[in-house]
C-alpha cells in the first residue's frame, strides 16, 4: 500500500514547470532578473528538516519540492518524468524499469547516477513515514541509465505516484548523513541559509535541467503563522505571496493591491465515524448521517463560496467521480429523521464529535454542522482535541464517536484516498472499523496502474459503496488559495492543487 505521506498529496508543480519551461524563451519586459520572492510559510508548524528520510511533516514538501527532483513528477491526470525520463511497468505490476534523464545533475555539479537513485530510495525506505517504499524488494541497475525496481506486491501504479512526492526525492549517496541540514538535490533551487523558526532562503540551482522554467533568482520563505497573521503579512508587504485559508480570503479579495488565485483541490473535509461501536455501527444511522449535512450552506458560510460541496469522495473533474451518485446526498433533515426512526433512534442520536483544536476552519464548520445535524436528529457535542493527541486519544483510546478531519489526497492517484481508510492494513480502518472487504480488491486493482482510465471506473464503484454504506461523510472539497502582491509578482500565478505545496514555475518578480 502506498498509504504513506507520499501518497497523501497531489503535486501539479512539476507539470507546471514542464509547461512553463517549454513556453519559456523571451523574458518579460518587466521581469527583474535578480528577483527574490518572499513567500510566507509556517516554518514552525509545517517544516521539520531537509532530509527526505526523516522529514516528519508532509507540508515540508512546499520547500523540499524546490530542492529535490523526484523520480517522477505529477500532473493533472498523469505522472510525467522527473529524474526518470520514462519507465515501463511489467504485466504483473510488480516490476518498474526506469530510464534516467540524460545529463541530469545535482546542485553540486555531480551527475545523477543509478547508484544515487538506488541509495536514495533505499535510504528513504528506512523511514516509517514513507511506507509507500516498503514495497521495494530489490533495486538493480543493468546499465548506468537504467534502474529496475522489483516490488513485493502488484502496486506499480501507486508506487509511481508515490515517487512524485517526497518519497521519490533523489540525492547523492555521499550526502545521506548530512541531508537534514545540508540538502543536495537536483531540484530548481539550492539551500542558501536556514534560520529555524524564521526563514529558509533558496537560490537558483545553476545545474537544474529545466532552468528556464523557474525565472526567480531566489526564494525567501518567511515564517508566517496561519490565520490573521497571514493577512497582515501580505497586506503589509512583509511577504509577496502566501497561501490563505477561506476565512482570510474574504479579507483580501477586495484589496486592489492583492491578487488571488484559486484552484479546486481533491483534498476534502470529511466526517470519520467510529463504525465499530454504537451508534455508527448501524449502517442505517450512517446512511441517515449522509443526509444530515447541508453541504451547500457550509460551502457558502464556512468556505466563502470558493470550495465545492463534497457529495461523494471525488470531485466532478476526477476520473473517480460517479455520475450516478451525483449530488444524491443533498441535505434532507426530514428524510434523515425518518431513517433514524427506522433504525430504532426515533428520539435522535447523541454523539461526541471530535474536532482538532487550532484549526479555525474545522471549528467553524463543526459549529455549523452541529446546528444542521440537530434538525436531522443528530445531537453532536463538540469536543476540541489537540492535533497531537488525535492518534492516541481518538484512534487508539477510542475517544468520541466521530472525527472531523481533512482528508489530504494524492489528487489523481485516486485509489490512494481509500487505502488507509478501507484496506486491512490501514490505521483508521483498524481503529475506526471502516474496513470493508467488498471494496479492497478494487482498491488493490487500482493500485496496479497509474492510468486514470483504469483507476477511474474502479474508484467510481468504490465511491458509490462508500456513500451507500455511509463509511464516511464527505463534506467539502477544500479550495487552494494563493494571495500575492500585484505590484511585485509577475507571471501566471496558479494556486497548487491541494495543501502543503508551492507552485512557483513561471513566476517572476517585477522590476
Amino acid at each position: 500500500m502506498a498509504g504513506s505521506a507520499a501518497a497523501l498529496f497531489f503535486v501539479p508543480m512539476a507539470a507546471s514547470a514542464l509547461s512553463a519551461g517549454s513556453a519559456a524563451g523571451a523574458t518579460p519586459s518587466n521581469e527583474n532578473t535578480n528577483g527574490v520572492l518572499k513567500y510566507g510559510f509556517d516554518i514552525n508548524d509545517e517544516f521539520s528538516n531537509f532530509d527526505p528520510a526523516t522529514e516528519t511533516n508532509d507540508c515540508g514538501y512546499t520547500v523540499m519540492s524546490l530542492l529535490y527532483q523526484s523520480m517522477t513528477a505529477p500532473g493533472q491526470y498523469a505522472i510525467s518524468g522527473g529524474v526518470a525520463k520514462s519507465w515501463t511497468i511489467s504485466p504483473n505490476a510488480e516490476t518498474v524499469t526506469f530510464t534516467l534523464r540524460p545529463g541530469i545533475e545535482f546542485s553540486n555539479g555531480q551527475p545523477v547516477t543509478a547508484a544515487d537513485v538506488s541509495a536514495s530510495l533505499l535510504n528513504t525506505k528506512k523511514s516509517p513515514l514513507r511506507s509507500s517504499l516498503s514495497a521495494i524488494q530489490t533495486i538493480t541497475s543493468p546499465n548506468p541509465e537504467t534502474v529496475v525496481v522489483q516490488l513485493s506486491r502488484p502496486t506499480a501504479g501507486d508506487f509511481l505516484w508515490a515517487l512524485s512526492y517526497i518519497d521519490g526525492s533523489i540525492y547523492p549517496a555521499s550526502t545521506i548523513p548530512t541531508a537534514a541540514t545540508n540538502p543536495i538535490g537536483a531540484g530548481p533551487y539550492v539551500l542558501k541559509s536556514y534560520q529555524p523558526g524564521s526563514s529558509i532562503d533558496l537560490v537558483k540551482n545553476p545545474h537544474y535541467w529545466d532552468s528556464a522554467a523557474y525565472p526567480l533568482k531566489a526564494i525567501d520563505f518567511v515564517q508566517v503563522g496561519i490565520g490573521p497573521q497571514a493577512v497582515s503579512a501580505i497586506t503589509s508587504g512583509a511577504v509577496d505571496m502566501i497561501s490563505l485559508d477561506p476565512e482570510q480570503y474574504t479579507e483580501v479579495e477586495h484589496d486592489s493591491n492583492i491578487g488571488t488565485a484559486i484552484t479546486q483541490s481533491y483534498d476534502y473535509i470529511t466526517l470519520e465515524t467510529r463504525n465499530n461501536t454504537a451508534p455508527f455501527n448501524n449502517v442505517k444511522v450512517r446512511s441517515a448521517l449522509e443526509y444530515s449535512v447541508n453541504r451547500a450552506q457550509i460551502n457558502k458560510v464556512v468556505f466563502a463560496g470558493v470550495g465545492r460541496p463534497a457529495y461523494q469522495p471525488f470531485p466532478s473533474n476526477s476520473p473517480g467521480y460517479n455520475k450516478t451518485v451525483g449530488n444524491k446526498y443533498v441535505y434532507d433533515p426530514t428524510k434523515a429523521k425518518a431513517m433514524l426512526a427506522v433504525a430504532g433512534y426515533k428520539h435522535g442520536v447523541p454523539f461526541k464529535l471530535e474536532v482538532p483544536s487550532g484549526d479555525t476552519t474545522l471549528q467553524r464548520l463543526a459549529t455549523v454542522m452541529q446546528s444542521e445535524m440537530a434538525a436531522a436528529g443528530f445531537n453532536a457535542s463538540i469536543q476540541l482535541i489537540p492535533p497531537s493527541d488525535l492518534l492516541t486519544d481518538v484512534y487508539l483510546h477510542g475517544q468520541g464517536n466521530a472525527l472531523l478531519s481533512a482528508n489530504l489526497t494524492n489528487g489523481p492517484d485516486i485509489s490512494n484516498t481509500f487505502e488507509s481508510e478501507y484496506e486491512p492494513t490501514g490505521f483508521p480502518a483498524k481503529y475506526l472499523g471502516t474496513l470493508d472487504l467488498a471494496i479492497t480488491p478494487d482498491i488493490e486493482a487500482a493500485n496496479a496502474s497509474d492510468a486514470a482510465s483504469l483507476q477511474g471506473p474502479l474508484m467510481q464503484k468504490v465511491g458509490a459503496i462508500v456513500m451507500a454504506q455511509g463509511l464516511e461523510t464527505p463534506i467539502e472539497f477544500e479550495p487552494s488559495i494563493i494571495a500575492y502582491n500585484k505590484s511585485v509578482v509577475g507571471g501566471n500565478v496558479v494556486a497548487p492543487i491541494g495543501q502543503c505545496r508551492s507552485d512557483l514555475a513561471g513566476i517572476y518578480v517585477k522590476k
Binding site: G3, S4, A5, N44, D45, S48, N49, F50, D51, T54, T56, S127, P128, L129, S131, A180, T181, Q195, P196, G197, S198, S199, V222, Q223, V224, G225, P228, Q229, S232, A233, T235, S236, G237, A238, P386, P387, S388, D389, L391, T392, D393, Y395, L396, S420, G426, F427, P428
Partner: protein, 322 residues
C-alpha cells in the same frame, strides 16, 4: 566589612536554597511532561501509517518503556553533565543548540521590553507620586490602568495594523540578526518591545507611585524637609531609594515572566525565540525539547529572583536577616 560579610552570607544562603529548588523543578518538569497525553513514538512511527511493531521499536529506542524513575535519573544524569538531550524531530539536533539559537532572540525581546517598561514606568510613577492628586497624576493613573488592563497580544495586533498594515512604517513580522543589519534588527523588534513594554511600564508606574506616596508620608521625610533639604534632594536621595525597593521586586518578576512568557508576542511577530521553540515542541510531543526549555526557563527565573533578592538585600539590609 560587617555589612559586606552579611551580604555575602546572605548570597551564599540563597544559593544553597537554590540547589534543592532546581532539583525539585527538574523533577516537576520531567513528571509533568511525561504525564502529558500523546505518544511521540506513534508520530515518529508514521502516525496513521504506523505499525505496532514500528511503534514498539521506537518506544524502546526512546526508552519510553522504562520505569519513570529510571527515565528521570537518565535525564538528570545528562543534565548534570550539561547534556539536555536531542530533539526527537527535525533531524535530531541537540536541545542545547536549539536553545542557544533561540535564546538570544527572547533575551533581546525581554531586555528591550524591560528597558522600555523602566524608561516609561519609573518617571511616570515618580511624577504621579510626587504630584499626587494633580492632573498629571490622574493622567498617569488612567494610563497605567489602561496599560494593565489591555492584553499585550491585543496591543500587538493594534500596533501591527497601525504601523505595518496601514502606514508601512515598521515591519509586521520577522527577525533580522544584529550582525546582518543593526537597523533591521531594531526595526523588527521595536513593535514587539512596545507591545511588551507598555503593559509592563503601567505596572511599574503604579508600583512606584504607590510606594513613593507612602514614603513621602513618613515622619523622617517630613524631618528632612523641616531640616531645609531641597525637594530634589529629599526625593532623589531619601524617598526614591525606599520607594524603588518594591519596584525592583516587580521588575525582577516581570523580567522572569518576559523570558518565559513571550510566546504569544513571538507568535504574532514571527520571532524565532524560545516561545516558538517550545510551542512547536509541544504540538509534536518533542519531550526532550519541552523538558530542556522549561528547565532552562525555570532556572533563569530562579537566578533572576536570586539576583533581585541580592539587590533588595543591598537596598534594604533588614531582609538579609531572614
Amino acid at each position: 566589612m560587617g555589612s559586606g560579610g552579611s551580604l555575602l552570607s546572605f548570597i551564599v544562603r540563597r544559593l544553597i536554597i537554590t540547589i534543592p529548588l532546581l532539583l525539585l523543578i527538574s523533577f516537576g518538569v520531567f513528571s509533568l511532561v511525561l504525564i502529558l497525553p500523546g505518544n511521540p513514538a506513534l508520530l515518529l512511527a508514521g502516525g496513521i501509517h504506523s505499525t505496532p511493531a514500528e511503534v514498539a521499536k521506537i518506544t524502546v529506542q526512546l526508552h519510553l518503556n522504562e520505569p519513570f524513575w529510571r527515565q528521570y535519573l537518565r535525564w538528570l544524569n545528562g543534565i548534570i553533565h550539561g547534556n539536555l538531550g536531542r530533539s526527537l524531530f527535525n533531524g535530531n539536533p541537540t536541545v542545547a543548540s536549539g536553545i542557544a539559537e533561540r535564546f538570544p532572540v527572547t533575551l533581546f525581546l525581554a531586555i528591550g521590553g524591560m528597558i522600555l517598561s523602566i524608561l516609561i514606568g519609573i518617571p511616570a510613577g515618580i511624577i504621579a507620586g510626587v504630584r499626587a492628586g494633580s492632573a498629571s497624576d490622574r493622567l498617569v493613573t488612567v494610563g497605567s490602568s489602561l496599560g494593565v488592563a489591555i492584553p499585550d497580544f491585543w496591543l500587538a495586533l493594534l500596533l501591527v495594523i497601525v504601523f505595518a498594515v496601514d502606514t508601512h512604517v515598521l515591519p509586521a513580522l520577522g527577525y533580522v540578526e544584529w550582525g546582518t543589519s543593526p537597523w533591521g534588527w531594531f526595526q523588527h523588534l521595536l513593535l514587539p518591545w512596545l507591545a511588551l513594554g507598555l503593559g509592563g511600564s503601567a505596572t511599574i508606574a503604579r508600583q512606584v507611585r504607590g510606594a513613593l506616596i507612602d514614603t513621602l508620608d513618613q515622619d523622617y521625610m517630613r524631618t528632612a524637609v523641616a531640616k531645609g533639604l531641597s525637594p530634589r534632594r529629599v526625593i532623589g536621595k531619601h524617598a526614591l531609594k525606599n520607594a524603588l525597593s518594591p519596584a525592583v521586586t516587580v521588575i525582577g518578576i516581570q523580567f522572569g515572566y518576559l523570558l518565559g512568557g513571550t510566546i504569544i508576542i513571538e507568535q504574532i511577530f514571527s520571532l524565532p525565540g524560545i516561545g516558538e521553540y517550545i510551542l512547536t515542541a509541544i504540538s509534536v510531543k518533542d519531550l526532550p525539547v519541552i523538558q530542556g526549555v522549561v528547565l532552562v526557563t525555570a532556572t533563569a527565573f530562579v537566578l533572576i529572583n536570586l539576583f533581585v533578592d541580592v539587590i533588595y538585600g543591598y537596598l534594604n539590609p533588614k531582609v538579609r536577616l531572614g
